[in-house]
């Protein structure tokens, strides 16, 4: 048994265990918002584990690309879907909510909205990303696959040119991006543990809360990245954004202060990643 086999075996067992714990969360947690924390968050990290094992087994560059794709898709689309579902359930009065849920306003001066200018034009980074996805899915670099990929990537990039995002300037600085990823990864690991640990609690001991957090970021890309990061982190789901106020559902908030500090730290780091772009916009 090689060390790689060992890592893969641990990833398979650990990943499946997280998926199972998410399932137990579905049974034990009192309402749809709390169930989301367990089922889709813990399970998401679990899927990363089993995909890692599959990629190690494949042992090819394609396996690694598939792993990166799954992780990227889980981060980009998973939390977005969950936020939309949570938002719909939040506004729907027929969806039962745990009677213990507390609504906590968090007092901070509401920042001035400066607005941002949107530049149009296609996003070339998006095109390159689509091309990489195409190659990874086909798993070959035969000429017809490459040409097909270029054509499809070009068409999609052109069709969605008005929706092209601002890319964080920090992406050009690998160190800053790596620093954010390490910070965020650690955040995810720690809060996954928190969610798993709260599975032991009886329903009436769990204190879910809806926190109101004033955000100071203004561009859509920044807000999207923040809401996605919050929703990807187990234990918190972004519910709604209204007049620069972000509503976040927290699984267990006997004390909301650390959760607010976490959101604040995420916001600061994301804004730092966009730092240079903001200076250009305002200057």
């Amino acid at each position: 048994m090689t060390p790689i086999d060992l890592i893969a075996a641990v990833a398979v067992v650990g990943g499946s265990l997280l998926v199972a714990l998410g399932g137990i969360g579905l049974l034990r947690f009192p309402d749809v918002f709390t169930r989301m924390h367990g089922a889709t968050k813990a399970a998401t990290i679990g899927v990363v584990g089993t995909t890692l094992a599959a990629a190690l087994e494949a042992g090819s560059p394609r396996g690694v690309l598939i792993l990166l794709l799954v992780v990227a898709l889980l981060f980009l689309s998973g939390p977005l879907g969950m936020s939309l579902l949570a938002r719909a359930a939040y506004h729907d009065h027929e969806t039962p909510r745990s009677p213990l849920t507390a609504e906590l306003p968090f007092e901070l001066p509401i920042p001035e909205v400066t607005g941002s200018s949107r530049r149009g034009g296609p996003s070339y980074a998006l095109g390159v990303w689509l091309f990489i996805v195409w190659i990874a899915l086909f798993g070959s670099v035969a000429p017809n696959v490459v040409i097909g990929g270029i054509v499809v990537a070009a068409i999609v990039t052109f069709a969605f040119r008005r929706l092209s995002p601002h890319w964080p300037v920090a992406l050009a600085h690998p160190v800053r991006t790596a620093e954010f990823l390490v910070f965020f990864g650690w955040q995810v690991v720690r809060s996954t543990w928190d969610v798993v640990w709260s599975l032991r609690l009886d329903r009436h001991l769990l204190r879910p809360a809806i926190i109101e957090y004033p955000i100071s970021m203004t561009t859509r890309s920044e807000v999207t990245l923040l809401m996605n990061s919050i929703s990807f982190t187990p234990g918190t789901v972004a519910l709604e954004l209204h007049d620069q106020l972000l509503y976040v559902h927290v699984l267990n908030a006997h004390d909301p202060a650390p959760v607010i500090a976490e959101i604040n730290a995420l916001e600061t780091r994301i804004m730092a990643m966009y730092g240079q772009a903001r200076q250009i916009e305002t200057g």
């Binding site: 899927v47 087994e57 506004h91 729907d92």
Partner: protein, 90 residues
Amino acid sequence: MIVATNIAALFLAVAALASLYRVVRGPSVADRMVALDSLLFTGVAALGVQIFRTGDTTYISLLVIAVLTAFISTVVIARYIEAETSNDAD
């Protein structure tokens, strides 16, 4: 290796049964959707375990496609709940 996949299969079976229970019991549409998502993720995890166990990487692309599909169905159901809510308001 085989022992690890057997343990993993047991965990996944527990997850699938728990999700199915929640799909049946509900009570709300959103609950069922969360449970269905969980069931799909269980399937994706099972596929990863299967690839690891057999070493057959034919279906590795399915991992990506399944994760994408989960997103689309969740968004559709979210829109449906929102439409229902605004209908009730009228």
